[in-house]
């Protein structure tokens, strides 16, 4: 089966939540809506302490430069702009809203016409960012110059273990999704779209194939991590290679996540801005793994309560086990890009201590980008950044395949990331 080179095969573990239909998540008492749920500059608050806001009301305006709008997920009183701990461990501005449980809402004004400009404008207005986890403002990504992009690739790979939110969206909101894809095609000017779905989601593939048609096709992809990585996905769906250091648009392609496309549909068709998302809560340390609509800014503790987290939880991970960030406190709250929350017990996670490198070269065999983590690490330790660049440190996508396979349990992906950072710093 046509696939990209290398990669690894972690255990899927999707069975825990794959058959859980999407349902409403917790209705939190308070939400701490982060002003920065995206790559780029944080949004600027447009409400003050004491203001009353409704669900779907703008509370943070996109700042100058690369930014995105932030909307309130609940109706209630703004308690103020507070500093709150984020997943990265830093204190950032959040808007604290106390939920009055009245659920009063507003929507965006309906679009008068569906055109590229209007759709792009709506996408920007709705604050849609890449919901696969990258949180890049979608309008900027789609707003390339005319004619540059001819194919839209929809990322339905969902290659990380445990996560099933995109799968459920594909199954339950199929037509909405297709419509969203059409809007996205319009927005970026693509003539056709390919939905790439991993083979481990056969029902989704079937449903999508039935629903799509014309310029939208479904490509079933080999189940391999990181199939959902941009360059690999584009290569498998369109056989195009994105040159090193370039963007997909340079290859005439734009990649958009399933949930993002769905959000575009909601924004354009249902005039709903982006203030909540489907999240997968999974892992053996929750009693009730599920796929739930979670409002942005929900404290993780609320989610844990909602899903009955167990005491034997050994690790909490935001995202998937391969690339996901560890959660150090349940006080952290969700955002547009948090696709899943995993409560892993002892058997599902491990702590490691690095042993000497045995030179097996498995990291090289695993790296989907064809880098040599073993040599990059050695170059890093001898502070030879030129050599690290020679072995390809700059092209690292951070998928973690190298660390995954290393028999000596070395911190390879971190070394490569560090080398990448140093190379940039030193301007080599």
């Amino acid at each position: 089966m046509f696939t990209f080179a290398n990669g690894v095969h972690p255990k899927g573990c999707k069975y825990l939540s794959a058959e859980e239909p999407i349902m409403r998540g917790p209705e939190p008492k308070q939400v701490y809506v982060p002003l920065s749920q995206h790559i780029g500059v944080a949004a600027e608050p447009v409400v003050e302490s004491g203001a009353y806001v409704r669900r779907g009301e703008l509370i943070g305006k996109a700042a100058k430069g690369l930014s995105a709008n932030v909307y309130s997920p609940v109706s209630g009183t703004v308690r103020g702009v507070v500093g709150h701990i984020t997943l990265a461990g830093k204190k950032r501005d959040h808007i604290l809203i106390e939920n009055d449980f009245k659920d009063e809402s507003v929507s965006l004004p309906p679009l008068s016409e569906i055109s590229r400009e209007s759709v792009l404008g709506r996408i920007a207005e709705a604050g849609i960012v890449g919901m696969g986890g990258a949180t890049f403002p979608t309008a900027v990504k789609l707003g390339v110059e005319e004619g540059k992009v001819d194919t839209l690739v929809i990322n339905g790979a969902e290659c990380e273990p445990y996560i099933t939110c995109d799968y459920r969206i594909m199954k339950e909101y199929t037509h909405e999704l297709i419509q969203g894809i059409k809007f996205t095609m319009l927005a970026c000017g693509a003539k056709r779209a390919v939905i790439g779905v991993e083979k481990n989601k056969p029902e989704a593939i079937t449903v999508l194939k039935e629903a799509c048609g014309g310029e939208i096709t479904v490509k079933s992809l080999k189940t391999k991590y990181p199939q959902g990585a941009e360059k690999q996905l584009v290569y498998c769906c369109t056989k195009r290679v994105i040159p090193e250091g370039k963007l997909p648009a340079d290859a005439g392609v734009v990649v958009v996540n399933i949930h993002t496309a769905f959000s575009i549909y909601k924004a354009v068709e249902e005039n709903t801005p982006c203030y909540e998302r489907v999240m997968t809560v999974s892992g053996k340390a929750v009693d009730k793994p599920c796929n739930i609509w979670v409002k942005n800014g929900t404290l993780l503790r609320d989610i844990a309560e909602f899903c009955d987290g167990k005491e034997d939880c050994a690790r909490i991970v935001s995202g998937g086990p391969m690339m996901g960030e560890p959660v150090f406190s349940l006080k952290v709250c969700t955002g547009k890009g948090m696709s899943s929350l995993l409560f892993l017990d002892e058997t599902e996670c491990e702590s490691k201590s690095a042993e000497p490198c045995i030179g097996c070269g498995k990291c090289v065999s695993a790296c989907p980008m064809g880098l040599s983590p073993v040599f990059i690490e050695r170059a890093l330790f001898s502070k030879d950044y030129k050599e690290a660049k020679h072995y390809g440190a700059e092209a690292c996508i951070g998928c973690g395949c190298c660390s995954y396979v290393c028999p000596a349990k070395r911190f390879l992906v971190q070394s490569v990331k560090l080398a990448k950072k140093k190379i940039k710093e030193k301007g080599i």
Partner: protein, 950 residues
């Protein structure tokens, strides 16, 4: 809700692949187990012990190193893996310290000193093997083979590996090419512990590939390239499989070439690495001196790997060239192209090419007359291969068959039993590695191990192989050096120009504490020293070769001043002196070989004779001993040159270094009589006299030999005692040199040798050459008597309470009678017969009066594995057997019953059917039967000679 607070924080990835270092090492150990088990099965528990010692040594040395360097103990099993691999690389009977030294070297030097796990610069096991090969070459190349008589457990017989020139017998009786390949596949061949049984290796390798521990590319491409290179370098498709299955190539391909730290990290580079390995392995094997190139190839490629890693970085996903085009993946396509090309070549060429025998050998036709040698071949390197067969007369009968390899340096390289008894196996170690002279010297009875008959037969077969080589005319002839030369170790006629090649050895005494071993290879060409090659000599006190090279015998003999200028200590001079002696010996040995005269058997001292080119006259090599004191006998050897009946020269070959030298002036220039009369050999020094006495006896023997050679008369073979006959110049009349032995008592057999002179039908004189000092023959009984008188002698006692002198006399009587018979033959107008079955000569007998026939034959006692030689003189007169004189018949009492025949005519004898003597043994009957046939043949002649013959 439960309080979630016991969670930890760690960086991604949060769940890793289950493979870890220890698991990988464990997998390798598991994969090695089949080889270990099979190796133990084939080679015995000692082999297992070697592997265990090696493993333990590796483990311990790693921990000791960590202790010394204050590092934590390593608990990964990599040292164990190295230990097992190195252990499996050792020959199955290597001394234990090889395992220890190799283990320490591999772990401490190759691995730990360079940084430990993952930082070794070369494969530790392969490097240690190379180190052991260089340091302990002999022990590392002495392989034993698995027993192939059906038992799996080896009996420890040394077998050369296939690459070392050994032949491989067929497995399960399957002969020919595929039989040999099957043997090697299952490991019925020589090799180190783990590398012979291919299925075990494949099993382990498959396990490793399934567990994804090794990259399948390396073994596959290595084997592919090796096969291809064998096709190219040896131009033989038949050589491919044997080469792949031998020399540890399979083992190395799966277990040693795949070592992580020292193989490339990228798949395409691994293919290049494996190609390089294949190329180097085969090239070293084909064109280099070491028979197996695997370890060296691995070592060499390991050293190249860092360069490959730096310069041959693979193309990344999306990598562009400077001009913006996608960077082409050169290596990928190049490697694929190479592999496909090699595979295609093999696929096309291999089935088409003829499956020649395992190495290209040319057949040498052997004549049918050989008793044992059935086929003979020679290969490019000058090795000879024989197939020898024999039928042994053991109860039940046993057919044996061996494939014998005699190397180009003229030693038995390998003996592979093809067929032999499961129970009575030949003791191959008696013969392997030996030269012709060594094998010849093994006394026929000295072959214990319960398979004496097998060994005896094998010895005969091997000697015949050597004769076959000589007969085929191959120039590399080894000559046996006559007894008496002290320095010469071996003598080979080398090359096609007929140069004489000697290896000479000695222990030179430098001073009271030190002796320096010396060894040189001397080449003589056209009677000059062509070259002297030092093999062993002192680093400091080297022989001054310029003194000797290019000189003749006379020139070297004349050298007096052998001091080396500037040499403060005299040692170099001593070396020169020793070398001079050695060179002189070489000249003498060459002289004796080239111009050899045959010396009649039975002399006490005479070892060789030659019509010398070096000296004027005939040279005789005499070897003996002088009893200096009651505890010390001095070995002596002289070359005595006789000319015109006088001693013209005496050359010292070996005599005392402590001044017990012979007084040569007593002897030089004198003739036989003069020397015989010498009584006072005293020089005033009691010690020297002993030497003189011995020398006198030697010289007398030389004169006798000279006499026999000068006046030699041909006698037909078959006499019991007569060794040579001649017209004696010394004594006048006919001289007969007779030898025999007399059993003094159960422990002592005394050899006898006399010169019996007959003149005018009487014994004119008897010279004793060799007899007991105590029980001497009473010559007066015999001198002056005729045949009849001596026949009639009954009382040969001398009044001696011991009957030993009597025994000597009895023997002498028999000898003298034989001499008369021979004399009768020689003086009766003897005509030799060539083509008769039994008759060797016919003559007119003066002794008996009639036509006499000398007949020889055999009584066939094959159930005792014995042919009894028989010789008779049959005298026929007036159509009847007048008399029959036995010359040689059984010593065990199976004598012919002469009364059956004497006085009878031909018809009567023809009609004799019952030749049994009532003797429960049938041997006498056989003798009679043969005698009857002999007599009839005589009559046949008689009838033709006389009567009515038109």
């Amino acid at each position: 809700m439960a309080e979630i607070k016991n969670y930890n924080v760690a960086i991604s990835p949060h769940k890793l692949d289950s493979l870890n270092t220890r698991r990988i090492m464990l997998d390798v150990i598991i994969a090695l187990l089949p080889c270990v088990i099979i190796g133990t099965l084939y080679f015995g528990l000692y082999a297992l012990l070697l592997v265990v010692i090696c493993t333990v040594t590796c483990f311990v040395s790693e921990q000791v190193y960590n202790l010394v360097r204050k590092k934590p103990f390593t608990t990964d099993l990599s040292a164990i893996v190295t230990g097992v691999i190195l252990g499996l690389n050792l020959p199955a009977r290597a001394p234990w310290y090889l395992a220890v030294i190799g283990g320490v070297f591999a772990i401490v030097i190759v691995k730990m000193l360079f940084g430990g796990l993952g930082k070794n610069f070369a494969n530790p096991a392969a490097t240690a093997r190379v180190f052991l090969l260089l340091a302990y070459g002999g022990a590392m190349t002495r392989f034993i083979g698995a027993d192939i008589s059906g038992n799996l457990i080896s009996d420890g017989t040394i077998a050369a590996t296939y690459l070392g020139g050994g032949s491989v017998a067929g497995l399960f009786g399957k002969e020919g090419y595929w039989g040999g390949v099957l043997s090697m596949f299952f490991g019925y061949t020589g090799g180190s512990i783990g590398e012979t049984c291919v299925p075990a290796i494949l099993l382990g390798g498959a396990y490793l590939m399934v567990r994804r521990v090794i990259d399948w590319r390396i073994p596959l491409v290595y084997l592919l390239t090796s096969a291809f290179m064998v096709l190219v370098c040896y131009q033989s498709a038949g050589e491919i499989l044997p080469q792949l299955f031998s020399g540890g190539l399979m083992f190395a391909a799966f277990f040693m070439a795949t070592d992580y730290a020292t193989s490339p990290k990228w798949r395409m580079n691994r293919i290049l690495y494996a190609i390089g390995l294949g190329v180097f392995t085969v090239v070293i094997r084909r064109f280099g001196t070491y028979p197996e190139g695997v370890s060296l190839a691995i070592l060499f490629m390991n050293l190249l790997v860092p360069a490959m890693d730096t310069f041959l970085v693979p193309v990344r996903f999306g990598q562009m060239t400077k001009s913006g085009k996608p960077k082409p993946q050169v290596m990928k396509w190049l490697m694929r192209a190479l592999c496909i090309a090699m595979a295609a070549t093999l696929a096309i060429a291999a089935p088409v090419m003829e499956y020649t025998r395992l190495t290209r050998r040319e057949n040498i036709p052997v004549s049918e007359s050989y008793e044992y040698v059935r086929s003979m071949q020679k290969d490019i390197r000058g090795n000879f291969y024989f197939n020898v067969q024999d039928s042994l007369s053991v109860p039940g009968g046993q057919d044996v068959e061996y494939n014998v390899t005699i190397g180009s340096i003229y030693t038995v390289k390998d003996i592979s039993p093809v067929k032999q008894s499961g129970k009575y196996k030949a003791e191959l170690s008696l013969f392997e590695g030996k030269t012709y002279s060594e094998i010849e010297e093994i006394p026929a009875g000295d072959m214990q191990t319960g398979a004496t008959i097998v060994n005896t037969s094998l010895r005969e077969m091997l000697l015949e192989c050597y004769r076959a080589i000589n007969d085929a005319g191959y120039e590399n002839k080894e000559y046996t050096v006559p007894n008496g030369f002290s320095y010469i170790d071996s003598y080979v006629k080398a090359g096609f120009g007929g140069d004489d090649l000697f290896t000479v050895k000695t222990e030179l005494k430098i001073n009271d504490e030190r002796t320096q071993p010396l060894e040189y290879v001397v080449r003589l060409k056209e009677n000059k020293v062509f070259s002297v090659l030092p093999v062993t000599q002192s680093g400091r006190y080297k022989a001054e070769l310029s003194f000797f090279v290019g000189k003749t015998y006379e020139e070297i003999n004349a050298l007096e001043d052998l001091t080396v200028s500037g040499d403060g200590v005299v040692s170099a001079t001593k070396t020169n002196v020793a070398l001079k002696e050695m060179l002189l010996e070489c000249f003498l040995a060459a002289d004796f070989q080239k111009n050899a005269l045959s010396v009649p058997a039975g002399f006490q001292y005479l070892s060789a004779a030659a019509d010398s080119a070096l000296f004027d006259g005939r040279a005789y090599l005499a070897v003996g001993q002088a009893a200096i004191t009651s505890s010390y006998t001095q070995p002596l050897a002289f070359v005595i040159v006789l000319k015109e009946g006088k001693v013209s020269e005496i050359v010292l070959v070996k005599q005392s270094t402590e001044d017990y030298t012979a007084e040569l002036s007593f002897f030089v220039g004198k003739n036989y009589q003069a020397i015989k009369e010498l009584t006072n050999l005293d020089t005033g020094d009691p010690n020297i006299s002993a030497v003189n006495i011995t020398l006198k006896a030697m010289i007398l023997e030389c004169f006798i030999a000279e006499d026999l050679i000068a006046g030699a008369k041909t006698l037909p073979a078959g006499f019991s005692y007569i060794s040579a006959a001649a017209d004696s110049a010394l004594f006048g009349g006919s001289a007969y040199f007779v030898t025999g032995s007399v059993e003094i008592n159960a422990d002592k057999i005394q050899k006898l040798a006399f010169m019996v002179m007959l003149e005018g039908g009487r014994v004119s004189s008897i010279e004793s050459i060799m007899q007991s000092g105590k029980y001497t023959a009473e010559l007066s009984f015999f001198v002056g008597k005729t045949y009849e008188e001596i026949s009639g002698l009954t009382d040969l006692g001398t009044g001696d309470p011991n009957t030993s002198a009597t025994k000597t006399n009895t023997a002498l009587k028999a000898m003298i009678l034989e001499c008369f018979l021979a004399e009768d033959m020689l003086s009766g107008g003897m005509t030799l017969k060539e083509d008769a079955a039994y008759i060797r000569a016919e003559y007119n007998s003066a002794l008996f009066g009639g036509d006499a026939y000398y007949v020889t034959g055999y009584a066939d006692l094959s159930e005792y594995n014995y042919k009894q030689p028989l010789s008779y003189i049959v005298v026929i007169k007036d159509g009847r057997v007048l008399t029959i004189e036995p010359v040689k018949q059984s010593t065990m009492g199976y004598t012919a019953e002469l009364t059956f025949f004497i006085g009878k005519t031909a018809e009567v004898i023809k009609g004799l059917t019952n030749l049994g003597t009532g003797d429960p043994q049938t041997s006498a009957t056989r003798t009679n039967t043969t005698l009857k046939a002999m007599i009839l043949e005589c009559f046949g002649e008689y009838d033709l000679a006389g009567g009515d013959r038109a």
